[in-house]
Symmetry: C2
Subunit: 150 residues, 2 copies
């Protein structure tokens, strides 16, 4: 559904929403372990989200790390997807046509048109803080379970 980059970004942000604050920043080592993602690659992804768009903040040096402000925690996954420029599910055509619209629809257009707003709702309804708070239930996780690294 999404690229690895996007998946890691979403998981990282949910983790940061849950664990970080201005007072308590999270290092990339802890973060990557917590969401079960490749560390350096995840660092790159987060870097992109600290520049320009005020989604993720970071501070170098001891006690430094990544964190979300309360404002950032109020954003939705859809907001994040927009910043990641990975909105294909929302804007794209099932069959990959560049210009699939009411005027020139693909054969699946009318069907997908009914599902798209639900996907959009799903991604837009909850703030990442709300998603993170679901993780108080220990069954709900954002890492791969039962797979140990060698």
């Amino acid at each position: 559904m999404f690229s690895k980059s996007t998946e890691y970004a979403l998981r990282a942000i949910i983790y940061l929403a849950q664990k970080s604050s201005v007072e308590h920043k999270i290092g990339i080592t802890e973060l990557a372990q917590a969401i079960d993602s490749p560390k350096s690659f995840t660092a790159k992804i987060l870097q992109n989200l600290t520049r320009g768009n005020n989604l993720i903040n970071s501070v170098t040096g001891p006690t430094g790390g990544f964190y979300l402000t309360d404002q950032a925690k109020k954003k939705s996954l859809l907001n994040v997807l927009t910043l990641l420029e990975d909105e294909g599910i929302i804007t794209g055509c099932i069959l990959g046509l560049k210009e699939c619209s009411e005027k020139n629809p693909c054969p699946m257009h009318s069907e997908y048109k009914q599902i798209k707003p639900q996907l959009l709702d799903m991604l837009d309804q909850k703030t990442i803080a709300e998603l993170a708070s679901e993780m108080k239930d220990p069954r709900i996780v954002i890492h791969n379970i039962g797979k140990k690294k060698v």
Copy 2:
């Protein structure tokens, strides 16, 4: 949503459902033009779908080409996706977790769970023959419009 390979395959199959039969086969040149896809790459994709799974048939030599049997035309896009092994939207987790289930759900699981069956329905309800027949309406297309090849 899908890979290019999958998109080309779906478009090709819809075109073949519309235009081909045992009596009238379609050459790769016509097909690739009709669905606006790279010719050789599309040929590869179709080759994979002629082997084993009886979805697409082909014949070499003059008057040869690709075609669908009436039986094949009765399959759904979901059937095709299964043959293409590109069912991620159906089976996968939004956040990319390997084991996202009722027992260990991701924070988006309960939300996506409600949309997944609708996506599945969308892909399973219509036969590709039915999708193809929608194209009697000239507004409905499976090629990129207004983009001319150099």
